[in-house]
């Protein structure tokens, strides 16, 4: 089928369109659901994800907020406490720090602190990652930070399919779920498998099978890792690419299973190395699967700098194909 | 030396060479090399020891006359 026909049949779409369709579906399915955030309505979304939804659903359900992350994220938490199913959009995860108090001290704690009397069925969507030369205050990957916090679920859709189908189970979840949409992926286009109508938000997914080395990754590092696996295959190295998808709670079973088979592991994470989700995974592997390892762990992460503006510097700061290939290759004892 | 003395001496020497065997159980006509699984080095050591203990000169060409216990007794008593 040609791309144009697929588009016409609604099978082929961008990640952005997938996010939009997911929101549309959520709002249609549940009258308690509404979206709020900065510029989600009139403007159509900073990354145009919510374009057209205001006209479709009206200002009560596509609620533009002032630039007040703490207030509107907290309001989302309060609304969830009081029976609504809010979807809160934070323009980029850098801005989420202004709402960190609400996310951490309220959303993540109240169910436990109230002894289970209250749940916070809330979804917070935010854009993450670098690659568009947006400089240091719009380019960071903070999902690993949030994955530190008990009481939250943290998702990172790396495919159009996940972008399309993760919102629904996230909204159905009784817990606060954070979805990190990678800004570079918004333009990614793929054909949806018509047989797939839902995904789970509890498991990682093997995107490519291989026997020699496991590449654990998520988000925009997923396409890079798949490309690396292709390159490696040309050298006779069969890399297994595991899309983590869920950064909290981590799907230890899938991770451990893959690494137990390949016994070698490269973790590709756009976050910084220090205190990162890649560090967490590495520690778990060493704690739980030490004796399965046949080589040291390797991590390909962002350089430990604020992501710079200049294109060549930004590129140098991020995990790239050659480093992923080299990391995997080195574990095979090849130069 | 009496026959018995020679026999006892031979058993003692062979026991030193092949400690895990029991030469006293040998019949007079058995080839000691086969019965005790001793090789040329062992046999040479036996000859050396026998020569020292009995004073009997044992030229090399006489080695075949020492292959059984009866032979040994006869050779030493000669």
């Amino acid at each position: 089928m040609r791309a144009a026909e697929q588009l016409a049949q609604g099978l082929r779409m961008t990640y952005r369109e997938a996010c939009r369709q997911a929101i549309r579906e959520a709002l249609n399915d549940d009258p308690r659901a509404f979206l709020m955030g900065e510029d989600v309505g009139l403007y159509g979304g900073c990354y145009a994800v919510t374009k057209g939804l205001l006209e479709e659903f009206g200002p009560e359900r596509i609620r533009d907020t002032p630039l007040a992350e703490s207030a509107f994220v907290g309001a989302g938490i309060g609304a969830a406490l009081a029976g609504m199913r809010p979807i809160v959009e934070i323009m980029t995860c850098n801005f989420s720090l202004l709402a960190l108090d609400q996310i951490m001290n309220n959303a993540a704690t109240i169910p436990h602190m109230s002894g289970g009397q209250f749940a916070v069925p809330l979804v917070i969507r935010m854009a993450t990652g670098a690659g568009r030369q947006l400089a240091a205050q719009h380019s960071h990957s903070l999902e690993g930070w949030y994955a530190h916090i008990p009481g939250l679920k943290v998702l990172a859709p790396g495919t159009v399919e996940d972008a399309r189908y993760m919102l629904k189970p996230a909204l159905a979840d009784p817990n606060p779920v954070l979805i990190f949409e990678h800004i570079v992926l918004y333009n990614a286009e793929d054909e949806l498998d018509p047989a797939v109508t839902s995904v789970d938000i509890s498991s990682a997914k093997v995107r490519r099978e291989g026997r020699d080395v496991t590449i654990l990754t998520y988000g925009n590092s997923l396409p890079k890792s798949l490309e690396a696996a292709e390159t490696l295959a040309g050298e006779g190295i069969e890399a297994e690419v595991v899309d983590l998808r869920v950064l909290r709670p981590l799907d230890d079973a899938t991770i451990f299973d893959s690494v137990t088979r390949t016994r070698r592991c490269v973790i590709v994470d756009e976050g910084w190395k220090s205190g990162s989700i890649s560090a967490e995974i590495g520690a778990r592997l060493v704690e739980e699967r030490f004796f399965e390892l046949d080589a040291p762990l390797r991590r390909v992460c962002s350089r430990e700098v604020p992501i710079p503006y200049a294109g060549h510097l930004e590129e140098a700061a991020l995990p790239q194909l050659p480093q992923i290939v080299e990391a995997a290759r080195s574990l095979m004892g090849r130069k | 030396m009496t026959e018995e003395e020679v026999r006892q001496l031979a058993c003692e020497l062979l026991s030193d060479i092949a400690p895990d065997t029991d030469p006293s159980a040998l019949s007079g006509k058995e080839d000691i090399r086969e019965a005790l699984d001793i090789d040329s080095m062992d046999f040479l050591n036996f000859v050396i020891a026998l020569n020292k203990r009995t004073g009997v000169a044992i030229p090399e060409e006489d080695y075949p006359e020492l292959f059984t216990m009866d032979d040994i007794v006869a050779y030493v008593q000669r």
């Binding site: 399965e292 046949d294 080589a295 574990l331 095979m332 004892g333 | 895990d20 080095m41």
Partner: protein, 419 residues
């Protein structure tokens, strides 16, 4: 724990011949280790002072495991013992096991008695300098280490193909295929055998492993020659006739010496197959296969055979055979052979075609000498004949080379005076 053979995995320390503080010199025998080939004396290849006996008597230590720590000459000791205990040993110089080791000449010189008792030794060099063990630990992946333990291979003896030369699971599996002698872990306790004895089952397994590896890995070729031993025998009879039994030579001495000289002429057969090529040995150390009563075989080296006179060679042969039987072999004697001779002796078979002991590249099999018809100058005569068979590693040499060796051997044995 030294690796005394391709098939050795571990050894049990049965006796220490040195004490902490004892000075050692290269070649000193420092310990006796029980292996499946019997008790072996462990030599030391460096000079220094024993800093610590890491393995205790009765400990089973895998090959590559640390037996003792050695402080280099001039290096301040980092004693693990209590200072008092060390001083006591130094001060009293009681006749300890160290004195049994012939090469340990001096009583321990550490911890002079003048030092106050309570004062611990003051390191004059950074303590780290005396602790090389951590740096020398081989890189073995966790998975490889576990698998190695399962199948009983010492991973630190292997050459790794992984990152930074680390030993990987694949390396272990490959080694496991090479050496299936991997002993199943049984409930068997420590060996309770006296020194000098050996476990026939273990030895059988070790021979099985080495020979299986040889037959699997080494493409053998075989050459045979019949040698007229008349002149050699005649020379030997003359030599022995005038001598008391203890000075007499065994018939084996002459072919042994002749083989060494032939190897000097055809050095391609004297050495090892390593990393895909022949590493020629610069000495001729001939492993002499010694059958042990009760079964089993061991082939310790007689060193520099080419340089020894027949009488010296006889003494060396007598010594090594005696020690092989009593369990007093030194570790290096098992690893030193550059070539092996197997001879079934006068009561054996007419010929023996040997299996090469890896990583050596050839073995000579000598049949018994017996009178048989022989054609000389167009007439059939009775002559004492011996079938000499060469097994060669075809990776390392070709039949032509082997032929040159056998004819050299024949030629040398026709001139016993020159041996």
């Amino acid at each position: 724990m030294p690796a005394l053979g391709a098939d050795m995995e571990s050894g049990t320390v049965t006796e220490w011949l040195v004490e902490p503080g004892g000075e050692v010199r290269k070649g000193d025998v420092v310990a006796v280790v029980e292996t499946h080939k019997g008790a072996i004396e462990v030599e030391i290849f460096e000079e220094g002072v024993i800093a610590e006996l890491v393995a205790k008597e009765g400990d089973e230590v895998p090959v590559g495991g640390v037996l003792a720590r050695l402080a280099k000459p001039g290096e301040e000791l980092e004693m693990r013992e209590e200072p008092e205990a060390a001083e006591e040993q130094g001060a009293t110089t009681k006749p300890g096991p160290a004195e049994k080791a012939p090469a340990v000449e001096e009583p321990p010189k550490i911890a002079p008695p003048s030092r106050p008792k309570a004062e611990p030794p003051r390191p004059e060099v950074p303590a780290a300098a005396a602790r090389p063990a951590a740096e020398t630990r081989a890189k073995v992946s966790p998975a490889a280490r576990r698998r190695a333990a399962e199948i009983g291979i010492d991973p630190e003896t292997l050459e790794g193909t992984g990152i930074d030369g680390s030993v990987t699971l694949a390396d272990i599996e490959a080694a496991g295929h090479r050496a299936p002698a991997a002993r199943p872990k049984t409930a068997k306790g420590k060996p309770d055998k006296a020194r000098g004895s050996f476990d026939p089952i273990e030895m059988r397994q070790a021979i099985a492993a080495a020979m299986s590896r040889s037959k699997r890995e080494i493409p053998h070729y075989y050459l045979t020659i019949i040698i007229d031993m008349g002149r050699a025998q005649g020379w030997l009879e003359d030599y022995n006739r005038e001598r008391p039994p203890e000075e007499r030579l065994l018939p084996a001495v002459l072919p042994l010496k002749a083989t060494a000289l032939a190897l000097k002429q055809v050095p391609q057969l004297n050495g090892f197959w390593e990393d895909g090529q022949v590493a020629r040995a610069d000495r001729v150390n001939i492993g002499w296969a010694i059958a042990l009563r009760g079964g089993g075989l061991i082939a310790p080296a007689i060193r520099d055979v080419d340089t020894l006179s027949p009488s010296d060679l006889m003494a060396a042969l007598r010594d090594v055979v005696a020690r092989a039987r009593s369990g007093g072999l030194r570790s290096s004697e098992l690893t030193d052979p550059t070539f092996t001779i197997t001879s079934l002796g006068e009561r054996g078979a007419d010929s023996v075609i040997g299996v090469i002991y890896p990583p050596q590249v050839a073995i000579l099999g000598l049949g018994r000498v017996s009178e048989r018809p022989w054609v000389a100058n167009g007439r059939v005569v009775a002559r004492p004949l011996m079938v000499a068979s060469l097994s060669g590693d075809h990776r390392a040499s070709d039949g032509h080379t082997g032929g040159l060796f056998l004819s050299a051997l024949d030629r040398l044995l026709q001139e016993p005076d020159a041996l």
